[in-house]
């Protein structure tokens, strides 16, 4: 059935007369921003949609993260144990501090981990960078840092290297040579999950995380 469908559809499409000329696709000028401006814009746009952005020194992020998590009284924090971020986190995390969440590694495949996964309080991931123009994080999940860390737990913590903030999305696509390297799943995330489906009243945390905490790491 589908082979015939394919042939029929493509034949019909090929028979259609084509426009004599196709207009040139222009491009909007990209505003060149310095790093401080990019951080400023990212923060501005993310905070406008209730993201929380903290700019911290590269070697102080674990301490800062602990400060941010203590008042939230979480039980568990999901992470990818084999990433550089995961290793640093595990090395810097006190083993038995009742005020801090226990680290939970995403170490098994979803089929074996699903029941636990849906019970966790927070998840932490790295990012490929971020986009200043619209305040979005860029995530390329990997075998070491799976897709659902940034989706299932009610709090998502993301680390952004300040050097990897791009002016706009087009800029990021080129700089990262995406075309030749598309991952299984690439994501832009601009803040906590939200909906306005009831009377256009904005509400957060409908299916994805209720909170997104971003740590921008400066040298």
């Amino acid at each position: 059935m589908s082979d015939t469908a394919r042939e029929n559809i493509l034949r019909k499409l090929a028979a259609a007369q084509r426009p004599a000329q196709i207009p040139e696709t222009g491009a909007l000028p990209i505003a060149a921003l310095c790093q401080a401006e990019k951080i400023e814009q990212l923060k501005h746009f993310m905070e406008a949609v209730r993201g929380e952005v903290h700019v911290v020194k590269k070697d102080g992020w674990i301490a800062r993260l602990q400060d941010l998590l203590r008042p939230r009284a979480l039980k568990t924090l999901l992470y990818g144990p084999a990433t550089p971020l995961g290793k640093a986190l595990a090395a810097g995390w006190p083993p038995e501090d009742p005020g801090l969440p226990r680290l939970v590694p995403y170490a098994a495949s979803l089929e074996d981990f699903k029941s636990d996964l849906f019970q966790l309080d927070a998840g932490i991931t790295g990012t490929l960078g971020a986009i200043a123009e619209n305040g979005a994080l860029i995530l390329w999940p990997t075998p070491e840092e799976p897709r659902l860390i940034s989706l299932v737990p009610p709090i998502h913590i993301a680390l952004v290297d300040a050097r990897n903030i791009y002016c706009n999305f087009a800029d990021a696509l080129t700089a990262g040579a995406w075309k030749a390297n598309m991952p299984t799943n690439a994501l832009l995330i601009s803040g906590p999950s939200k909906t306005a489906d009831i009377e256009l009243t904005l509400a957060f945390g409908v299916h994805g995380p209720r909170e997104v905490l971003v740590l921008v790491l400066e040298a």
Partner: protein
């Protein structure tokens, strides 16, 4: 499910206009969406530049459509995505069912997809014993109510929170009545989390498919789309064949136009780009990804140099928000899946003029839709073309059902009109008679209906010709 038989547009409109609550809900919602969009496209010049880009991208994609679809298929297949083609919605439904049955699956979680509405997929699957859960909050609400979307972006916009509170209380077990939006969201979150957890197949639409990389792009705010495309072991994406774009670099401008036009956002919470099923070593994501490419009349629409512009549409819904007719009657009155201005041009072409040509009459031709369209579809022009097509059959047949309204009295009336206007002597006599008798003529038939709510124009006693002549203007 659209009423495809016994669709009475005039009756629907009368009912909608009489429903004060509905009109209030729409007036408020559309006004607010117009405001939000205006803020995000505040720079008029930049917006014009941007939509020229959007139009160019979509025109180019349609100009190369067969090649791009073949390329998309080849890239997807190389990436491990299984591609299926469907000429009709029946074929598309059968394909989805076949995939479900192959996995012995009986539970589907669904992200928002207008193409699946076009397929009436839920109805089809439920009749075959499959439990389908809509997971977009708006879609979940209308599924509970047994209704269809009234807007392509905010499907439950016709309901207010009291109505939703009652619905949740009645339809979801152990749910207390609450009108607090936060609490209603929490109820939906709790209910749907379990469905994501249990879902065997996740179904989504596609906002854009990138031919050069074989990537399916999905735009959403809630995270339910990511859930449906990541948690269940099988993901099925359904797309209309026009949704393909050529290059990855086409994505950023279209994304900006789409989210800005649809919801007045710079970007949605999530932009989800899917290029393959779970690869070896990866711990989550579906083990199988299927792409169903649906025609359902689109390949015919492409053959007409004017009407093909309909396929530029990126389904942002902003033409609905800006339409004075849609705002007053809402989406359900249109009786078909796609309401508002885009529905007025798309539906008659898909379903034929006889069935849906009447939709093209629901326009005041105010041009608001064209002025805001992010890809510059000349909607009012196409509405007029469709109105004409209802009376005129062409040798090649541009639209199914062409000329179905053609009838003897109207044809004769226009013939007479032509004769009078092409014969100066006859014209002079008729003009004179109209001046003398015009106001005394009985108001019958269409004139009677037309003048029921309108003041009939008074016919001048003397024609403009006569008056100018009397003023000494020489008729050349």
């Amino acid at each position: 499910m659209a009423e495809t038989t016994g669709f009475d547009f005039a009756k629907n409109i009368r009912q909608a206009l009489g429903d004060q609550q509905l009109r209030k809900n729409f007036k408020f919602a559309m006004g607010s969406m117009i405001q939000k969009r205006r803020l995000v496209f505040a720079d008029e010049e930049e917006f014009e530049q941007l939509r020229a880009i959007g139009q160019a991208i979509r025109t180019r994609a349609l100009a190369k459509l067969p090649e791009l679809l073949a390329q998309l298929e080849a890239r997807c297949t190389a990436n491990g995505i299984q591609v299926h083609w469907a000429e009709t919605t029946e074929e598309a439904n059968a394909t989805v069912l076949e995939i479900m049955q192959r996995h012995g699956a009986t539970r589907m979680v669904k992200g928002k997809s207008m193409v699946s509405e076009e397929m009436h997929l839920n109805h089809f699957l439920e009749a075959r014993g499959i439990a389908v859960t809509e997971t977009d909050l708006g879609e979940f609400i209308i599924q509970l109510a047994g209704e269809t979307p009234s807007h392509i972006i905010v499907p439950a916009i016709h309901k207010n929170k009291e109505q939703i509170a009652r619905l949740f209380h009645e339809k979801i077990p152990d749910t207390p009545y609450t009108e607090k939006v936060e609490e209603l969201n929490a109820i939906a979150r709790r209910t749907l989390r379990q469905r994501f957890f249990d879902g065997q197949v996740g179904l989504s639409g596609v906002n854009m498919a990138v031919a050069e990389t074989g990537t399916l792009c999905l735009v959403e705010n809630e995270g339910n789309g990511r859930m449906c495309t990541t948690v269940p072991p099988v993901h099925i994406a359904v797309m209309g064949l026009e949704k393909v774009v050529e290059k990855l670099s086409d994505v950023p401008p279209l994304l900006r136009l789409l989210t800005g036009s649809a919801t007045g956002q710079l970007i949605t919470t999530y932009f989800n780009m899917i290029t393959s099923p779970r690869r070896p070593g990866e711990k989550d994501g579906p083990l199988e990804v299927h792409l169903v490419i649906l025609d359902n009349g689109r390949s015919r629409i492409l053959t007409d140099p004017q009407f093909r512009q309909t396929l530029q549409c990126i389904r942002c819904g902003t033409c609905l928000n800006h339409c004075p007719v849609y705002t007053r009657i809402g989406g359900h009155a249109f009786g078909h899946v796609y309401p508002g201005p885009i529905g007025e041009i798309l539906t008659p072409q898909m379903e034929g003029l006889q069935e849906a040509g009447v939709l093209a009459t629901a326009s005041s031709l105010c041009n608001a839709c064209e002025a805001v369209c992010p890809v510059k579809i000349p909607i009012p022009g196409l509405i007029r073309e469709l109105r004409n097509a209802s009376y005129t059959a062409t040798p090649t047949g541009r639209v199914p059902g062409e000329g179905f309204k053609r009838n003897l009295p109207e044809t004769l009336a226009w013939k007479a009109w032509e004769k009078v206007n092409r014969t100066p002597a006859l014209n002079a006599v008729v003009t004179r008679l109209a001046g003398l008798l015009g106001d005394k003529a009985p108001r019958l038939g269409p004139l009677k209906i037309w003048s029921r709510y309108r003041t009939p124009p008074r016919v001048a006693r003397r024609s403009l010709h006569a008056m100018t002549r009397a003023q000494g203007v020489d008729n050349e």
